[in-house]
C-alpha cells in the first residue's frame, strides 16, 4: 500500500498538500482507483479479445480466413501490451523512490524477504489485467479455434505480459530517474518533456486504436495480399505477428507456406526466450528498490554557480513547465485540451450525410472548450508545493495569473488549431465553419482570467492559492461551469444568429462580438477579484 501511495503522490502534484488534509480519504481513493483500474483493464481486455478474434472469425470481407485470424490474434497481443504498460505506468514510478521500503527495512526482515515483498507488491499492481489476459483470451481461442490455438494463444499472452512488465519496469525507472535528476542541458529537458508527452498522448492514442481495430486488421490484410506471401513471411519474423501466424497455422487446412510457418516457429521460440530474459531482468531491477531505491543524487553534474535571470512572468512559466515535465500526473493535465480532441473525434466525424454540419461543429467546439477549464485548474495546482517560496516573494497575484493564462492560451490555441484541421478535413457544409474554432481563441484570455480570479477569490480571498483537483470538487465544478459558460456563449451567439438569419458570416460576426465582450469583462472584473 505504501508503494502505491508513493506512486499516487508522484502522479498527483497536489498530493503532498492533501496528505495533511485527509489521509484516510486519500487511502480510500487509492484503493478504489486500483480496483477501478483493475476492472477497467479487465473490461478492455475482454472487449479487445471479443472485437479482434470473434469479429475476424465471422467477418469474411477481405483476404483468407487464416491471415485474418493471424493478424487479429497479433493485434490482441499489441493492444494488451499497451494496456498493461500504459494503465500501470503512473502507479509504478513510485516504486523507485529511495524511501519506498524505508519502514520495512527497519523491521526484522532479511534482504531476501524485502526483495520478495517488493516483487509481490509490484506484481499486485497489475495482477488483474495479467490474469485476465492469460485466462480470457486463451479461453476465447480455445472455444472458437480449438485447443492447439488456445495453447499458442496462452504462450503468446505470457510472452506479451512479460514484455509489457519488462518495458513497464524499464520506463517507470527511467522516468523516475529523469524526473528526479537535474540536468545541465536544454536537450535533456526537451527529451524529458517529449518523452513524457509521448507517454501521455500515446496512452490516449492507444485507446483510440481499439475503436478502429477491425479496419486496421482489414488494411493490413489488404497490404499483405498486395505484397504476396513474401510479406507474410517477413511479418512472421516480427513480434507479435510470429505468434499470431503460428496460432493461425495450427488451424485445420493449409494456412501458409512452409517458409512462413518455419519463420513463425523459430521467431516464436526466440521471443519466448527473450520474454524469459525480460522477466528475469525485471526482477533484478525491482530488487534494487529493496536495497534503498534508485539513486538519483549521484547523477547531478557539478557546474559553476551562476544565476539565470529572465522576466518574472517567464520565470513563473519556466518553473511551471519544469514542474509539469517531472510529473506524469501534471503532464496529463497540461495536455488535456489536446487529449480531449481524441474523445471529440466521433462528434465531428459522425456525419450521416457525409459532411460536417454546423450543429456537429458547435457541439465539438463546445465540448472541447468546456473541458479546458480542468486543464487551467491543473496549472493552478502546480503551486501546491512551493508555499514557502511564495510567502516571501513580492509576487502580485495578477502576475501569477497572467503567467498561467499565457500557458493556457498556448494549450487552448493548440486545441483549437487541431479542431480547425479536423473541421477542414470533415467536409464542412461551408468553409466558413473552419473559422468557428478560430473565433473562439479570445476565450482563452477570458476563461483564464475569469476562472483563475474566481478560484483565487473563492479559495484564497483573492490571494494566490494552490488548487487540489482531486480533492476540491467544488472548485472543479465551478471552473468547468464557468468555462462552459464563457466558452459556449460565443458559440450560442453563433447558433442563435444562424437560426435567425441563416447567414454564416453574420453568425460568425456575432460570435466574435460576444467573444470580445467577454475579454473586456475579464479585463475589468478579474483585477477586482484579486489581492496582492
Amino acid at each position: 500500500m505504501e508503494l502505491r501511495f508513493r506512486g499516487y503522490l508522484d502522479a498527483n502534484p497536489m498530493g503532498a498538500s492533501r496528505i495533511k488534509e485527509n489521509p484516510e480519504r486519500i487511502m480510500r481513493q487509492i484503493r478504489s482507483s486500483n480496483r477501478m483500474s483493475g476492472l477497467l483493464s479487465a473490461m478492455f481486455i475482454s472487449l479487445i479479445g471479443t472485437v479482434s478474434v470473434v469479429g475476424a472469425y465471422f467477418n469474411n470481407a477481405v483476404g483468407s480466413f487464416y491471415l485474418r485470424m493471424a493478424l487479429s490474434i497479433s493485434f490482441f497481443f499489441v493492444l494488451t501490451f499497451v494496456i498493461v504498460f500504459f494503465m500501470n505506468l503512473m502507479a509504478t514510478t513510485g516504486f523507485f523512490g529511495a524511501s519506498a521500503m524505508r519502514l520495512l527495512s527497519i523491521l526484522p526482515f532479511s534482504r531476501g524477504d524485502l526483495e520478495n515483498i517488493i516483487l509481490l507488491a509490484f506484481g499486485r499492481v497489475f495482477i488483474a489485467p495479467a490474469v485476465i489476459i492469460n485466462v480470457v483470451f486463451p479461453l476465447i481461442c480455445l472455444a472458437l479455434l480449438g485447443p492447439l490455438v488456445g495453447l499458442v494463444a496462452l504462450a503468446g499472452c505470457l510472452i506479451t505480459t512479460s514484455f509489457a512488465i519488462g518495458a513497464l519496469v524499464k520506463v517507470s525507472r527511467w522516468f523516475y530517474i529523469k524526473s528526479h535528476t537535474s540536468t545541465d542541458s536544454r536537450a535533456s529537458t526537451i527529451i524529458r518533456i517529449t518523452a513524457g508527452l509521448g507517454i501521455v498522448v500515446g496512452m490516449f492514442a492507444a485507446y483510440g486504436i481499439i475503436g478502429i481495430l477491425p479496419t486496421l486488421v482489414q488494411s493490413l490484410v489488404q497490404l499483405s495480399l498486395s505484397f504476396g506471401e513474401i510479406a507474410v513471411s517477413m511479418l512472421a519474423l516480427v513480434f507479435p505477428f510470429s505468434i499470431g501466424i503460428l496460432a493461425a497455422a495450427l488451424l485445420p487446412g493449409m494456412a501458409f507456406s512452409p517458409i512462413t510457418i518455419g519463420a513463425a516457429i523459430v521467431s516464436s521460440i526466440l521471443y519466448g526466450f527473450l520474454a524469459l530474459v525480460a522477466y528475469m531482468r525485471s526482477g533484478n531491477s525491482l530488487r534494487s528498490v529493496a536495497l534503498g531505491g534508485v539513486t538519483t543524487s549521484g547523477k547531478e553534474i557539478r557546474r559553476d554557480i551562476s544565476v539565470d535571470i529572465v522576466s518574472p512572468i517567464s520565470a513563473i512559466i519556466r518553473k511551471d513547465m519544469k514542474l509539469a515535465s517531472r510529473n506524469l500526473g501534471s503532464m496529463v493535465i497540461i495536455v488535456l485540451p489536446i487529449l480531449m480532441i481524441f474523445s471529440a473525434y466521433p462528434i465531428v466525424a459522425l456525419t450521416t450525410e457525409g459532411f460536417l454540419r454546423s450543429s456537429s461543429a458547435l457541439v465539438g467546439a463546445g465540448y472541447i472548450t468546456s473541458f479546458t477549464g480542468i486543464s487551467f485548474i491543473g496549472l493552478l495546482s502546480l503551486d501546491s508545493e512551493g508555499a514557502s517560496l511564495h510567502e516571501g516573494l513580492p509576487i502580485d497575484s495578477r502576475m501569477i495569473l497572467s503567467a498561467k493564462v499565457r500557458v493556457f492560451t498556448v494549450q487552448f490555441t493548440l486545441a483549437m488549431s487541431v479542431l480547425v484541421v479536423w473541421f477542414a478535413l470533415a467536409s464542412p457544409i461551408t468553409p466558413l465553419l473552419v473559422l468557428l474554432p478560430v473565433i473562439e481563441l479570445p476565450c482563452a484570455y477570458s476563461i483564464g482570467y475569469l476562472v483563475g480570479a474566481a478560484v483565487y477569490r473563492m479559495r484564497g480571498g483573492g490571494r494566490v492559492v494552490a488548487i487540489n483537483i482531486a480533492g476540491d470538487q467544488a472548485v472543479v465544478f465551478l471552473s468547468m461551469a464557468l468555462t462552459a459558460a464563457i466558452g459556449c456563449a460565443p458559440l450560442g451567439a453563433y447558433a442563435l444568429t444562424l437560426l435567425a438569419t441563416g447567414n454564416h458570416i453574420i453568425a460568425l460576426g456575432f460570435q466574435l462580438v460576444v467573444a470580445l465582450l467577454e475579454v473586456l469583462v475579464a479585463r475589468r472584473v478579474s483585477p477586482r477579484m484579486l489581492k496582492g
Binding site: S297, I305, V307, S311, S314, S388, E391
Partner: protein
C-alpha cells in the same frame, strides 16, 4: 523609523483568538526575538506582518508600509524564512534560486555573486544542483536562507530558524543573522531555543496565548521577574507561569519511567 511596528493586533481563527491586542516594535539595526510556547501566536503574528493573513483589527507596518495594504512592497524589503519548509521538491536548488532571483528582478551579476558567496559560506555548493527532495532539513533551511538573503533585504523575518538544525548549521545561521545586523539590517525571529535567543537577540518579547507578557532586554526581563542573574529559560518559565507545570510533568515522567 521602526523596522517593524505592530499595534493592538488581533487575529482569530473562528472562536480561537490566536493573537490578542499585541503591540511591539523592532528597531532598525537590532535583533528582536519573539518567544513563546507552542500555539502562543508567534507564527500568526509573522504571517500578518508578511501580509499573508488579514488581521481582525490593529495594524502592522514594515518600514512604515502597511503589510495588509502593500504586501508586495513589504516583501521587496524583507527576507522571510517560514517555519514549514514547503518547496518545489522536484526542482533543484539552482532552479529555485534562478526563479527567485528572476522574480525579484536582480541583475545576473549581483545574483550570481550573492548566490555563489552564500553557498560557499553555508557550505552548500555541493548541494546546489541537487533536487530539493534529496536535501536534508538543514540543507533545505540553507536554501531558504540563501533565497531570503539573495536581494540583501533590510529586514530578516525568520520563523523558528533553528528547529531541526545540527550544531554546525545552527551556528552558521546565527552568524548570518549577526552579519546581517552588523551591516545595518534588522531581524525579527521567533524561536523556542532560549540559548539562541539569549546569545543573539538585543531584545525579546515573550508572548503567551496571543498576549505580550513581557518585553525588553535580558536585564530588563530579570528586573521584571525579580530574579537576578537568571537565564532566559528560567525567566521564560517564570514569566509564562510554566515552572510548576514543568515540575509536575517531570514528576509524572519520572513515575512512568520508574515502573
Amino acid at each position: 523609523m521602526a523596522a517593524v511596528s505592530i499595534k493592538h493586533l488581533v487575529k482569530s481563527y473562528g472562536s480561537f483568538v490566536a493573537v490578542n491586542d499585541l503591540s511591539f516594535d523592532v528597531r532598525e539595526g537590532e535583533v528582536y526575538g519573539l518567544l513563546g510556547p507552542n500555539g502562543a501566536g508567534k507564527s500568526t503574528t509573522l504571517k500578518v506582518l508578511m501580509g499573508l493573513l488579514d488581521p481582525d483589527s490593529g495594524t502592522s507596518t514594515v518600514f512604515g508600509m502597511d503589510s495588509g495594504a502593500s504586501p508586495v512592497e513589504v516583501k521587496k524589503r524583507v527576507g522571510y524564512v517560514p517555519e514549514e519548509l514547503s518547496l518545489y521538491e522536484s526542482l533543484t536548488a539552482r532552479e529555485l534560486i534562478d526563479f527567485v532571483a528572476s522574480i525579484r528582478g536582480l541583475s545576473p551579476e549581483t545574483a550570481t555573486k550573492r548566490a555563489s558567496e552564500m553557498s560557499k559560506a553555508l557550505d552548500f555548493t555541493q548541494q546546489y544542483d541537487k533536487t530539493v527532495v534529496t536535501l536534508s532539513h538543514g540543507n533545505k533551511q540553507k536554501v531558504m536562507l540563501i533565497i531570503a538573503m539573495l536581494h540583501a533585504p533590510d529586514l530578516l523575518i525568520l520563523d523558528e530558524p533553528f528547529t531541526g538544525l545540527d550544531v554546525r548549521t545552527a551556528r552558521i545561521m546565527k552568524d548570518v543573522i549577526k552579519i546581517h545586523v552588523k551591516g545595518g539590517g534588522s531581524a525579527l525571529l521567533s524561536t523556542h531555543i532560549m540559548e539562541m535567543a539569549e546569545g543573539l537577540c538585543n531584545r525579546v518579547g515573550i508572548i503567551d496565548k496571543g498576549v505580550m507578557i513581557a518585553e525588553g532586554t535580558l536585564e530588563e526581563l530579570r528586573k521584571q521577574a525579580q530574579i537576578e542573574g537568571a537565564t532566559l529559560e528560567k525567566l521564560f518559565l517564570k514569566l509564562t507561569g510554566a515552572e510548576e507545570e514543568v515540575e509536575e510533568g517531570v514528576e509524572t515522567l519520572r513515575e512512568a519511567l520508574g515502573d
